[in-house]
Symmetry: C2
């Protein structure tokens, strides 16, 4: 830490007053209370932060001058003068986000509370490399930038999710196995130079865990495991209320845990990896075999009709009662449950969230995972454990990327706010 | 948080000044810089905290009045007037700690930097229950209390480590499998009522991880996995510089990860658990079989000489080149390595520390664990990974328990300092 980290930006008393980190901390605490904890009155803020009423008033004045908090009229009276209601101004600025998948691009514009204002999704091949993929992202950003509703403030930051490990501090992918050409690509520098705002990049599963924790069913939980079951399998971990990224940004790799020695070679080169036996690709492959061998008439019909089978075909077949589809889904869920039992014993979370494409397979899939985890984990570790499907749906990635940017701007990095906000102060 | 959390204790300006959390935060930051980060001058403190020189001076005056920091003479001059050197007064108070094992009690008195001033170790049976064990701990505390050297301040806190899961906020064991009679026992209340100081209780592996992180080879690492390999096998996890205890205090249970279906029933009732195949008990059991079946003359001789075989016998035999002992140790290390590979893929630590009794088996044991982890983990997760033996030795438990108390008193809980310190302020 250096003197340069002291906040000069949203001071109410002019640009030349050097503020101490403590002043900045108090303002962040007040903003956090209103923005995240839902404090709606000065009393709420005082209770949530432990600050005195005078200090709360001073910080609210500064945040109000900066356009981040406003008076939203009177609240209900409890006898005396009705209290003034506080509101976080999520429209003070906007955020551009892109969630890159193996075969898709999702781009959105969001407000400062991760509310999605506009969203585009299209197919894309991440293996086309950073030049072509980011060029397409920039075109979509240009389109979406024109759709920001009137009354919203300027662009404050950009968030990018990618399907591989990321050096979060550098904003670059690190040895991503399914992203040829992206290793070490300076995504942050490229985007921040063009747009002149801060840029954050993280793994696609980490941003989903973050979004679920701020806006989904993980709100209020301090220790969360968010499992993505799609083509790949990965985990996002919240530990003591902070995202656990690990020493190299590689944390959460549960797709290559060895589960059995069944002879299926994984794309990582090893044998018996969870992902090669229980991921979306494994379901599609096994469904194809069952269709062609005549073991499942339902899958054979689906293959003829659709030309290709996916994990979705298996889920649909299971919901129609096809025995082979039920068996395939249950096998996948049991293997994932075995891995989760180990993770639950190790981390003792209060909540496990299942997301990703295969999680849409429905109740049979969830029930089999739950049964396996409760049977295989230690009783104490599951005493208060909930296992739920993600509540964020198709928007999970872009909501998560926007949450990452808002948290970095308004939490740890309040001193990174744009100059326009400083001018308002 | 409530107004009551605002610090009134070590204010330099008298008892009736309500301080804000920000004032308290700044003082904690300054103390942390000197106590933990090793800042030795006002400039060091300013650099480490980001506070201005005036704020640093004010906080140092308060901490000095409270007896926590002192002027330790002049430092080396860099041209101008030689800077005054700062020193944390670890002797301002003392801490009593007990590390309870399955068959042992370690009791010690420590200074505020976890320096051990006196230490007693004796055999004991945790299954004798809380009444008898804690009575013995109290007798040893009485003895040690008389050995605090002259010039040390009064008792400031007590720390207890136990071989099972703990509800850290309540200071009570929770469903501990090898501690009959201890479930929910109010260790904190019992000890704090008698001694009138704050008491903290945690799992024996968590306190070792904490001690290694503050005083051992894990210093400076933000993400650490500390594995205890003794009779039982468990892990202490540091995530983003904070101990990860999990939702119920049950985190770190890696002893019951299923590793193979070999038919050995674990004490938890399941089959194929790591602990039942690779822990100290498994080594002793298999050594006994090898001695009695005549497979190892070395072990047969040791059994006749010592009457009983332990993990230590196996380590000694391996160091003498006995092939059966080498094989047993390598099998244990390979199984632990498989489990660690999964943990490393999940958490991406920069350091794995191996501690506990079996870790004294030496270089063969460590080398086999390393080989297995590097072979089975994903390359990115081990890119910067170190795997080392614990540097704390026999004192690991009591150092860890003292560290827990010092961190709670002087970090998060600076407002919990004893009244004598407040009087000095």
């Amino acid at each position: 830490l250096s003197e340069a980290r002291e906040g000069h930006v949203i001071s109410s008393s002019g640009a030349d007053v050097a503020e101490t980190p403590s002043d900045l901390d108090a303002r962040k605490q007040v903003l956090h209370a209103v923005r995240v904890l839902g404090a709606r009155s000065r009393n709420d803020v005082a209770t949530a932060t432990g600050l005195g009423r005078a200090a709360v008033g001073q910080r609210l004045t500064e945040l109000s001058a900066a356009g981040l908090i406003e008076d939203a009229g009177s609240g209900p009276s409890t006898g005396g003068r009705p209290p003034r209601r506080l509101r976080f101004r999520a429209e003070a600025g906007h955020i551009l986000v892109a969630d890159l998948g193996a075969t898709s691009i999702d781009v959105a514009v969001a407000d400062l509370s991760s509310g999605i204002l506009a969203h585009r999704a299209e197919e894309a091949d991440i293996a086309a490399g950073p030049h072509r993929v980011l060029e397409r992202v920039e075109s979509l950003f240009d389109e979406l930038g024109r759709e920001v509703p009137a009354g919203y403030g300027p662009l404050w930051g950009i968030g990018i999710g990618v399907p591989g490990p990321v050096d979060f501090n550098a904003g670059r992918p690190v040895s991503p196995p399914i992203m040829p050409g992206w290793d070490g690509h300076p995504i942050r520098e490229q985007l921040s130079q063009r747009h002149g705002v801060p840029v954050w990049v993280d793994n696609d599963v980490n941003i989903r865990a973050l979004g679920e924790w701020r806006r989904g069913i993980a709100m209020g939980h301090g220790n969360v495991v968010w499992i993505k079951v799609g083509t790949g399998i990965g985990a996002g971990l919240i530990s003591n209320g902070v995202l656990h990224r690990g020493a190299d940004g590689a944390a959460g790799d549960v797709g290559h845990v060895p589960v059995v020695d069944e002879g299926v070679v994984c794309r990582c080169g090893n044998i018996g990896c969870l992902e090669a036996l229980a991921g979306g690709g494994a379901l599609a492959r096994d469904a194809d075999m069952a269709a062609r061998s005549g073991r499942s008439q339902w899958l054979a019909d689906a293959l003829e009709r659709d030309g290709v089978l996916t994990a979705k075909s298996v889920a649909l077949g299971a919901s129609h009662g096809d025995a082979v589809c039920v068996e395939l889904l249950q096998r996948s869920a049991r293997l994932i449950g075995h891995m989760l039992a180990t993770v639950v014993n190790l981390l003792n979370p209060s909540l496990v969230v299942i997301g990703g494409g295969v999680s849409h397979a429905g109740n049979l899939f969830l029930a089999t995972i739950r049964e396996t985890v409760y049977r295989r984990s230690l009783p104490l570790a599951t005493r208060a454990l909930q296992i739920e499907l993600s509540g964020l749906g198709e928007d999970a990635g872009v909501i998560g990327a926007a949450t990452m940017v808002a948290d970095e701007l308004l939490g740890a990095g309040l001193d990174l706010l744009p100059a326009s906000v400083a001018a308002a102060g």
